[in-house]
Symmetry: C2
Subunit: 205 residues, 2 copies
DNA sequence: GCCTGTGAAGCTATTCACAGCT
DNA sequence: AGCTGTGAATAGCTTCACAGGC
């Protein structure tokens, strides 16, 4: 019912609210959240309608109250178990960022084709052979997988994960993946984004 | 005039056409491009209107002809010089992907705060101290910068680049950046995307 | 005055649907 | 029949604008 674009921005507002809380800020107005979040004040208020937390015309929103409301809204009631496939540079970057940041979203396993990495612990995450992926995803009830593997392999990896009962996929390979309806998929095409900016950067000369 | 979303998809079609050409495929229909590109046939045809290449109801599009037309449309006439700021895992992943793939989009310099990396060559790209960024961007006529630095630093780096005359920015830090009008900016918020999928993956249970 | 919450308007992007071609 | 190219319709997202509150 809440649109994916709104969810993405709520995730951003959450981080902004965490920074504000760390800075000791007690209250915040929609236009302040907007300027930090690259949106408009109306957009922020519209997004916050989804979480159902009410602000106050004098003080704006209570940082702690709004933060709690957004977390309740976004976070699953029980920790959600995730996996990452591919422990190259991109995989490591993602592991490093997520480490200890989101208790409700835990990357509990990594999978990798390169045998020399299997059995190691990378950024606090155990690396398994990719052959064991289907079994481990089932056994450990892993719901979401992050795909940081080459384009040529990604569809096959996705198919295996779908077969293992995955619920969501985040794909970083520069080709979109196909998955049955009911599975949440986001393709993050870094190449396309860079080429897009390169194109737009020409026009404005 | 052509929308950024369309440009992003054209970049994807270009890669698909390159794969098709390598496979020796001579002609392709809009619905085939669509199924490989995660779009609909109507969307593909609509996007291709921008490049002005005409297909044929019998054979569809000539792979080589369409590829040439898309490249002419997307690529700058002269090679565009780009830089990357931050040579951590994410920076290396991007360098590795772009290496030798886009002759018209060349990452010619990297910048890094960590002094132990400066002076090295990473993935074929020379790493400079970040203090020298403004000078080098000006001298080497660098138009686009990819920001792979921590959130706390990214706005300051962006400001410096704007001051140095940059035309476009691709930001991977988990906070949006502000830039004056006329500068092309894309924020790729990996965290927000993963949280979005985690949220959507719950609904379908 | 300056804020919030929200109906209504406006805009952008996608999809439909069909004429035209072979 | 099955495709392309495209006007028209639709859906989705964002912004406007204003009532209501202090």
């Amino acid at each position: 019912m809440t649109s994916p674009t709104t969810i993405g921005r709520l995730s951003l507002y959450r981080r902004i609210l965490q920074w504000l809380a760390e800075e000791g800020v007690k209250n915040v107005f929609s236009h302040e959240l907007a300027s930090r979040g690259g949106a408009t004040a109306a957009q922020v208020r519209r997004d916050l309608m989804a979480v159902g937390y009410e602000g106050n015309p004098q003080r704006g929103y209570s940082v702690s109250g709004l933060l709690a409301a957004v977390e309740t809204f976004l976070d699953p009631p029980d920790p959600l178990r995730m996996a990452i496939v591919g422990v190259g540079n991109l995989g490591r970057a993602i592991l490093a960022f997520f480490r200890d940041r989101r208790p409700k979203l835990r990357i509990v396993a990594a999978f990798e084709r390169d045998p020399s990495l299997c059995g190691q612990v990378v950024r606090g995450c155990p690396v398994n052979a990719i052959d064991r992926m289907e079994t481990i995803v089932r056994e450990q009830d892993i719901r979401v997988a992050i795909l940081a593997v080459p384009a040529a392999e990604v569809q096959q990896v996705a198919d295996t994960l779908v077969h293992a009962g995955i619920h969501g996929l985040v794909n970083f390979a520069p080709t979109p993946i196909r998955a049955p309806k009911g599975i949440a998929v986001e393709d993050m095409d870094i190449t396309a984004t860079i080429e897009k900016v390169a194109y737009m950067a020409r026009g404005g000369v």
